[in-house]
Symmetry: C2
């Protein structure tokens, strides 16, 4: 077995520069089971981070489904097969009308790339609004939706960014803070309306808005009921399409609902899916109405060789079946509530914890240098994540200021696992010095 340094050297030689790894001391992972992973030295870690192995690392039912189908047939959708229609039937049953049709892809990036074309097919325009602290994927066109991407594929961009919502420090949110007499939701909608007008006045026109309805990368702010109502109304009034990127909150992760947009109480025009969909098998998808699907299919040619192949469908179907059979969404809610209560209890002891928030198996705590000023403890949060890794607990950080602990375990995470995480965090927060 190669040493970590040998692997790091091999990566530099074979993959090139800037291929990032997590943590100052990267992990050479060799085995996973349930919520646990093991490194090459045999050390066991509690995985509180990885959302791709959604129903647990190497879940036997998903592995069995993959092996069974891979040894039987693996082709594409230009032949008939029961797998894809059985899966899409089960999948669309979890959505409200009119979200009844789907395209299967291999990644969430491919799904969002299609969603942009659906917006164009429906509106004849291409201008898109996203938040200024999000990530929707890696294709050339989808990468443009990230304000933080360094470079862009030529030309003036058709994407406009609105400030990501920030429930914990709304005063910091916009230049000059929240406008007098406005709710957070109203202020967000006003920003969106401004950008709609800007796009309408541009050569691009206005095609729609893409949003993670849980604002995961933005730091999963706590949002009042109906937070997106006025925003969605404004987008629709302007003839635009609402795309909900459910790659992170979807598939029951947030516990209260199967999908993030259901939690926030909207019905998007297009929903995109990715990471957890096949428990690690490369599968993504786009769900929309028959009307919009028809507009897309009439405007664009689209075929995806691997998309909707029998093995991918078998993996994805097994994920839905396991979730139902094991009651994993309900467990996510219960364990999430327990874990957040535990984090809240830690806040009594550790002044660095400024805010505890999240839902189900996507939660965390915002770290601050001072609870009054709410100054983000960004460098400290990174040190905490590294210290947790050294203590055998895998988590990470995110948010507008990269100072929110990102705790996003797979759905096998139970109260005893939360206890391990909380005890370790208590230990780490007692050791790592709170300073910039």
């Amino acid at each position: 077995m190669k040493t970590n340094q040998q692997l790091i050297d091999d990566r530099a030689r074979l993959l090139g520069p800037n291929v990032s790894t997590f943590y100052d001391n990267p992990i050479h992972m060799i085995k996973g089971e349930g919520v646990w992973v093991w490194d090459a030295q045999g050390r066991k870690y509690l995985d509180c981070y990885n959302n791709v192995p959604h129903v647990g690392h190497c879940h036997a039912k998903v592995v069995e489904a993959i092996c069974q189908q891979a040894s039987t047939l693996n082709t594409h959708t230009r032949y008939l097969h029961e797998g894809i229609v059985r899966y899409v039937d089960k999948l669309t049953a979890t959505f409200a009308e009119p979200l009844s049709t789907a395209i299967m892809t291999c990644t969430g990036s491919e799904a969002n790339d299609i969603a942009l074309r659906m917006a164009e097919a429906a509106t004849g325009q291409r201008g898109i609004i996203a938040t200024d602290h999000t990530y929707h994927g890696n294709t050339t066109m989808v990468a443009k939706l990230s304000n933080s991407n360094k470079s862009d594929f030529g030309g003036e961009s058709h994407v406009r960014f609105v400030p990501a919502p920030d429930s914990y420090r709304p005063a910091y949110w916009l230049d000059g803070g929240l406008p007098e007499g406005m709710t957070h939701a109203q202020a967000f909608a006003e920003q969106v309306k401004l950008k709609i007008k800007e796009l309408q006045a541009s050569e691009h026109g206005f095609a729609g808005m893409i949003i993670c309805p849980f604002f995961a990368n933005e730091g999963f702010p706590t949002l009042e009921a109906g937070f997106l109502d006025e925003t969605v109304a404004a987008v629709k009034a302007a003839g635009g399409i609402v795309i909900a990127d459910e790659v992170q909150p979807g598939f029951g992760r947030i516990g209260t609902h199967m999908w993030g947009h259901q939690r926030v109480g909207i019905v998007p025009d297009v929903v995109t899916l990715g990471k957890p969909m096949g428990n690690g098998h490369p599968v993504g998808g786009v769900v929309t109405s028959m009307a919009l699907m028809t507009q897309f299919r009439e405007a664009f040619r689209y075929f995806n060789t691997f998309g909707g192949n029998p093995v991918s469908c078998a993996a994805a179907e097994a994920v839905l079946d396991v979730m139902a059979a094991e009651g994993l969404m309900e467990q996510a809610m219960e364990v999430g509530d327990y874990a957040r209560a535990g984090l809240q209890a830690l806040a009594d002891k550790h002044v660095c914890i400024g805010d505890v928030r999240g839902s189900g198996m996507f939660f965390g705590a915002e770290m601050v240098l001072d609870r009054n000023t709410k100054e983000p403890a960004t460098a400290f949060t990174k040190r905490v994540a590294n210290a947790m890794r050294e203590e055998g607990v895998i988590l990470n950080f995110l948010g507008i200021n990269y100072n929110a602990l990102k705790i996003r375990p797979n759905l096998q995470f139970q109260k005893q696992h939360a206890d391990v995480m909380l005890q370790t965090l208590d230990k780490v927060l007692s050791k790592v010095v709170l300073q910039p």
Copy 2:
């Protein structure tokens, strides 16, 4: 088990309109093994078409590699793992210097989408040249490389098309035919030079050319040695990047060489990989030099969640191992030569066969209404493909005029399989009436 009509109705309801199937009478495929597939009625077909199950449908070694790794660990490249470096080491060993680094993706489309950004990173320009009868994939940006795509994502396109080469009817190739005193290769290079100038004079500038070095979708013309030399020299002289899309010819399919660009005798700057790479498991990749990889990695942020995951790497590595252990590239050459000789023999009997060409496990015959005028028998070719399917042999058609039989079996195809295909084709060509 659902009937074909039920499945067709389910697809219309769940996948929307215009999701195409092969043949007038689609096949409900339920099992595959080696070069054989079975439909839901238990009928066995000889698969002379599907290139994705590259080393054979459900090859036991590939299935075993997938199952073994899927039941052990499946994560991503932000942790260290031996799988990706072992695979990229084996993969890049099949390329000439300086092609020594790789990015792993999930699809060939994602690979080509990256390749376009590499060209931009290297040149600061974005104008791309492709042929007018090609297909490189399905992302918004890559779909622009197909002249045949109905719609485009806004704005004036940065892609320029050159006429696809046509070895069988060079007189039909350009308006007015092949210019006096020019070889086919020179005429092709002249077209490329014209488009380079056009792009240089445009706002886009010239970034490079993307080409399938076997011109697979263009109808795999027979090309003289050094056919692309002058073209490549022109692209390089103009500071452009040559991207070889090896999704179709690559991985030894053409028998004489591991890669199509090696057969035609060029060293591209970027090579893209897809379909056959994981025998059906969704995996693709981009191979390039350290210099270009560094330029890309410094210009763009790129991470692919599923790209290079341990299971995908295990599947891809098993494909390379099986190819070597079973001598499949060598077999592809031998059986390809045998099958093409058989097609040539059929030409003595069937006047519809105007030209037989190809290499290894990618070959076919161009169908004409008249050997003197070489008028394409497009509708006839489609009827032949449908008749072959009814006789239990799966193949298809392609080319500039969609009149070339596309025979592209997986690498388990042997002489006795070629005999079955040839006997069936003889029977079908004796029955189907040669008329427009």
